[in-house]
């Protein structure tokens, strides 16, 4: 038994960390989050693709790096630490759907995504709560998609969409005259959500049971990915807070010497470390014990969501007044936590998945 990363994954972790420190430091990314219309630097995402991160868990035969879900967890964990802006997790989910799908259109779209030529995201939500309708309103028959998709992440600038429709999963390449998009502004100013009115030529790449299986698997991967990202976010928020507790003076001493704040920090650590155990156990199960994966992925996402809410909220609290300012960093992690909690498998759904795994 071994909890530590294998050499291959430890090297991957170091290279992701080094790359992000150099190319995506928080002070470089702040203006991107605030002002860049796409919400990410396209050149950075091309580099990310060249490094093989968007397909890190996929088999080499399909253009992936074949480093398993532990590899994927490592990448997302590090991205969470750096609060990387943009659609990386959305690319991962889109890649999984295209990988599960069949036919030349899907294969071509997946290759373009992994090569960094295209940014593809998933469009599935149809109502104000950000959930799919049942059955879906969006139609995908006759070589077209027709419908309205809501809260599509980074949808305005996407080169392609993987769209859930009543008939199955459709691939839509960006039309020459662009998308019919309404930009939304959410509490997470780094997100770029849009509502899309779709009436375009499309290829149905998975139908019937195959489509349902692919969608279930993509949702699970999204929840797992969000949990790993949440772990990174809370880990970094805790580190920033510890630095502040050690340097900020009040009443003539560092505020980190006060027991009330020490115990709060200890609770933040308990949740962070417990999330680490849960996330990597889920990653291991996805690679090596698939029967346990449904329970362990849902467990990790539900727990990490709550944990990150606590840790990132307390990061603001322990910074005091400056924690409420735009200038200090805790709000970046706090906001992303809320995005990941809501848009990648809400906690209530994870709890249901846990009960289902117990046959309840």
């Amino acid at each position: 038994m071994r909890f530590e990363l294998d050499e291959e994954h430890a090297l991957l972790k170091q290279s992701v960390r080094d790359f992000l420190a150099k190319e995506a430091a928080l002070d470089q990314m702040r203006p991107v989050m605030e002002e860049n219309p796409e919400g990410y630097p396209p050149a950075l995402y091309r580099q990310i693709a060249e490094l093989g991160y968007p397909g890190v868990w996929l088999p080499e035969s399909r253009g992936g790096a074949e480093m398993g879900h532990v590899g994927l967890a490592v990448v997302l964990h590090e991205m969470g630490r750096s609060a990387l802006p943009g659609p990386f997790l959305d690319l991962v989910i889109a890649a999984e759907l295209l990988y599960q799908a069949s036919g030349d259109d899907a294969a071509h779209a997946l290759a373009g995504l992994l090569a960094g030529d295209t940014i593809a995201v998933v469009a599935h939500a149809e109502n104000a709560a950000g959930r799919s309708s049942d059955p879906l309103h969006t139609r995908g028959s006759g070589g077209r998609v027709l419908g309205r998709k809501r809260f599509v992440p980074f949808g305005a600038s996407a080169d392609g969409l993987v769209v859930t429709t009543r008939e199955g999963i459709a691939w839509v390449a960006r039309p020459a005259d662009g998308w019919n998009a309404t930009a939304l502004r959410s509490l997470d100013h780094a997100q770029r959500l849009v509502d899309l009115d779709l009436d375009h030529a499309a290829a149905l790449v998975a139908e019937g049971d195959a489509a349902r299986r692919a969608w279930a698997r993509a949702q699970q991967l999204g929840a797992f990915g969000a949990a790993a990202w949440l772990l990174g976010g809370m880990e970094r928020a805790l580190e920033i807070t510890l630095d502040y507790l050690k340097e900020r003076q009040a009443f003539g001493v560092p505020i980190g010497s006060f027991q009330a704040l020490q115990h709060r920090a200890a609770d933040m650590m308990l949740r962070t470390e417990s999330s680490r155990a849960a996330v990597y156990r889920a990653a291991w199960a996805l690679d090596a014990a698939p029967d346990e994966a449904p329970l362990l992925v849902a467990t990790a996402k539900a727990y990490a969501g709550e944990a990150a809410r606590y840790v990132c909220g307390q990061a603001i609290q322990l910074h005091g007044g400056v924690g409420f300012t735009w200038e200090y960093d805790p709000h970046l992690f706090f906001k992303r936590t809320k995005t990941l909690e809501q848009f990648y498998g809400v906690t209530g759904d994870q709890l249901e998945a846990v009960l289902q795994a117990r046959g309840l």
Binding site: F3, K246, F258, H263, A265, R276, L355
Partner: protein, 389 residues
């Protein structure tokens, strides 16, 4: 990373399952609920069961074979504790001796001490209790004031110990006493003493559960023989702190296994109300947290198994299981309602689970073995390196 149990671990687990199935007369919960079993009778059941475990070679799992152990790995020891919980076996009678004193003697004792004490510890012929805490020294253990004064070549012990688990049934006690009032840590010595002697009085102490599982021990010039000092004079604190670490990882999987049983009873009890959203949410959170606890346990075990010393994981595990147990009992009483207030043996009580006892008993977990507050201090200072005032 690799969280899988090896083939030999899996074989060991199935061997244990067969053994427990064949050797447990009835689950411990049924013993507890039996109105004919008083506290003494329950201790007798535990003593008998310990002897069966010993005969089968399952005690002192990770001790050297020369001292009656089987030289097992930390993972096997954890699997043993887990399977014991899953089977709801009678708890080991001499658990304090085996968990704390045995390792202390193996690491710090003399050859003669090992020969004299270890066999009877394993066979449950001598039951041990732990004399660490005092009325004025709980979390601040080094503030203990029980004195050890030289009397010829031996020592005379005077003072009071409290919260002495198993005190009323113990034959011997391992005691921390002060040999030098001027040296807070270096003035403490680790003594082994028989309780049946002049100058020792053990009084049962009734807990909030109504049981008297622990007691107070009063020493008034009781004799502690110099050949029964573990380590050297003044090494008591150091030894006491190291023995607490020998148990690391051994219960990492046992608590989640125990909770699995408890949750099964809760799920059976809510039965027809599983369609209720509030019931589902509360149950699901318990399942999630118990699974996270298991993840923490696997991490600790895997860390130990790869030859490393866990860092803050021990404090995190302690906080997690003890605080979880309180939440679990609270939710159970809320979801099950009135019947869960009934204690074992009461008409109308749930036959398989004494939630009332669990609710009360769970209040102890956040206090003993380093209170939650002490655990948070440890995390803040040792793991987070926050400044000391």
């Amino acid at each position: 990373m690799d969280l899988a149990f090896s083939a030999s671990h899996r074989r060991f687990r199935s061997e244990l399952r067969e053994w427990f199935a064949a050797h447990i007369d009835r689950p411990w919960r049924h013993e507890l609920a039996d109105p004919n079993r008083d506290a003494d009778a329950l201790v007798a059941v535990r003593r008998d069961f310990q002897r069966k475990l010993h005969a089968a070679g399952y005690l002192g799992m990770d001790w050297p074979e020369e001292w009656g152990g089987r030289g097992a790995t930390v993972v096997e020891k954890a699997i043993f504790s887990e399977e014991m919980q899953r089977a709801d076996a009678p708890p080991i009678a001499n658990f304090l001796g085996l968990a704390l004193l045995g390792p202390a003697l193996i690491h710090h004792g003399t050859e003669e001490q090992r020969r004299r004490f270890i066999p009877k510890m394993l066979s449950a012929d001598e039951i041990w209790c732990q004399g660490f805490s005092e009325p004025g020294a709980g979390s601040d253990l080094a503030g203990l004031r029980t004195r050890a004064e030289p009397d010829g070549e031996h020592f005379r012990i005077t003072g009071q110990k409290v919260w002495t688990t198993f005190g009323p049934w113990a034959d011997w006690i391992f005691v921390l006493a002060r040999t030098d009032p001027g040296d807070r840590y270096g003035g403490i010595t680790f003594f082994l003493m028989p309780l049946d002697q002049p100058g020792v009085e053990v009084r049962p102490l009734k807990q909030i559960t109504g049981d008297a599982e622990f007691g107070e021990v009063f020493f008034d010039g009781a004799l502690a023989r110099s050949e029964h000092i573990v380590g050297k004079i003044g090494e008591g604190w150091k030894i006491a702190m190291t023995v607490l670490s020998y148990e690391r990882g051994s219960t990492s999987l046992a608590d989640p296994a125990k909770n699995d049983r408890y949750l099964d009873d809760l799920i059976a009890g809510v039965g027809g109300r599983l369609g209720n959203r509030d019931v589902r949410t509360k149950l699901a959170w318990l399942l999630v947290e118990n699974e996270v606890m298991r993840a923490n346990g696997l991490r600790t075990l895997a860390t130990l198994a790869s030859g490393q010393v866990p860092g803050p994981e021990s404090s995190i595990e302690k906080l997690f299981w003890s605080e979880y147990a309180q939440r679990q009992a609270d939710v159970a009483l809320e979801l099950l309602g009135a019947e869960a207030h009934l204690v074992a043996g009461s008409p109308g009580a749930r036959p398989e689970m004494d939630w009332a006892h669990e609710l009360l008993y769970s209040r102890a977990g956040t206090i003993y073995s380093g209170s939650s507050e002490i655990q948070r201090n440890i995390i803040a200072k040792r793991a987070l390196r926050l400044p000391v005032r």
